[in-house]
Amino acid sequence: MDDTSIIELYFGRDEQAIRETAAKYGSLCLRVANNILGCREDAEESVNDAYLAVWNAIPPAKPDSLRAFVWKIVRNQSLKRLEYNTAKKRLSGALVPLSELEEILTDGSPPPDVSAEELGRLISRFLDTQSADARCVFVRRYWYFDNVSDIARRYSFGESKVKSLLSRTRNRLKQFLNKEGYNI
């Protein structure tokens, strides 16, 4: 079923919408959640929470891309659960990539009027200037939260190359954000 039809099901409050969403995007959603949480059971719960969130969001939301919409909600739900798990000192999957991102941070604060959406646009602009290799590896690591060996296998790179690309891209992103006035 195409995305438009699935969205119509959501608007018609037909629960088949969730089943269709799960059938079409469930496997990737579960992978992302599992990457973040490092626990299959938590990942499944997180994905189910995400389906419910999608159900509650559409309508009124009418996303241009259902896939992007669902993935984003899954990612956010999983990160929330990760935060909860971490507070409870439960083992978590994405702590390593998250700690890598700390390299980009400084003690400063972002401009007060900047939203996460604007930061996303800025990071997108930065990524557009990078090589496809660097861009995709960065996204696989910090959006999908894939581990280094999985990225290396997916793209037929050596692990050292993946690590190198990540390190360089993080450094360049930090410089870019500083240059753009984001004191991070």
Binding site: S65, A68, A116, G120, I123, D133, V139, G158
Partner: protein, 282 residues
């Protein structure tokens, strides 16, 4: 900025970029190509060790019947490359330009050409349109189609000058095996060559021109630590030999060399005795 805000920001990057990462398939170079590249680099190093007599410092490019493919057109603004000879004006890739820095050409040296189509693949089509007109034999063709490498004479390379698709490597030929017995015959410090092969070949895809050189230097320096860790090498002792082949050279004590060679992981390390007259002055 706190980490959560940054993570949230990354969560908001354009979907096209997220989608690209899901579907992206980098151009792959075949294992054969990588081996061919590595072999060419090894042969180059080995050749320097085995055939020092081929290096005639009195030779000049003008004396050779065929011009060495040099850097003029491709890197005319780079003073290092122009040290070769002002008369050399054939376009080649940065890899060879770097290796050829201060190189004294010798007629016996061979050059190989790798040709790729727009998709980064070597193919019969490329052969037909680019190499066949050069009069290469069926054996050459078979070799080219198998590993993407063909052997050309200097005259043939001259004919295909300025083709951006050409990637030329040179090969001195020959092999050398450095053993403990060999080391016993040597006195004094040794010139050590380290062929690192740290994935530079793959990493360089998409990097061109001057940026390619700076990227390669940065990449190798960053990854050299793996060799430092494994073999106790000190990066500060080593100089670049061929940056694009990931090859370094240093003068080390004989004892240190023996130690390095005793390590099975050091198979890529070659040595040559340091003579009063340098074998080749890079």
């Amino acid at each position: 900025m706190n980490k959560d805000f940054l993570i949230e920001g990354i969560g908001n990057i354009d979907f096209d970029i997220i989608d690209e990462a899901e579907n992206y398939r980098p151009i792959r170079r075949s294992r054969a190509w990588i081996w061919a590249s590595a072999s060419a680099a090894c042969l180059l190093i080995a050749g320097v060790l085995v055939f020092p007599h081929l290096i005639d410092s009195n030779n000049s490019i003008a004396d050779n019947s065929g011009s060495v493919q040099g850097a003029g057109e491709a890197s005319g603004e780079n003073s290092d490359y122009n040290k070769i000879d002002e008369k050399v004006s054939v376009s080649i890739t940065d890899d060879l330009q770097y290796i050829l820095k201060d190189y004294k050409p010798v007629p016996e040296h061979k050059f190989y050409v790798r040709v790729y189509d727009a998709n980064g693949a070597h193919s019969e089509v490329v052969w037909d349109t680019c190499l066949e007109p050069l009069g290469l034999t069926s054996d050459d063709k078979e070799n080219f189609l198998k590993i993407g490498v063909a052997s050309l004479t200097r005259e043939q390379i001259n004919t295909v000058k300025s083709s951006a698709q050409l990637n030329v490597v040179m090969d001195y030929g020959g092999e050398v095996e450095v053993t403990e017995e060999y080391l016993k015959t040597v006195n004094g410090p040794l010139k050590v060559w380290v062929f690192t092969n740290l994935g530079l070949d793959e990493a360089l895809v998409g990097h061109e021109g001057e940026e390619r050189i700076s990227f390669a230097e940065e990449y190798i320096d960053e990854h050299f630590s793996e060799y430092e860790k494994d073999h106790g090498l000190n990066r500060e002792e080593f100089e670049y030999f061929g940056i694009f082949t990931g090859t370094f050279t240093a003068e080390l004590d004989k004892e240190k060399v023996a130690e390095l060679l005793a390590d099975k992981r050091s198979a890529s390390i070659s040595v040559s005795p340091e003579s009063e007259e340098p074998l080749i002055d890079f």
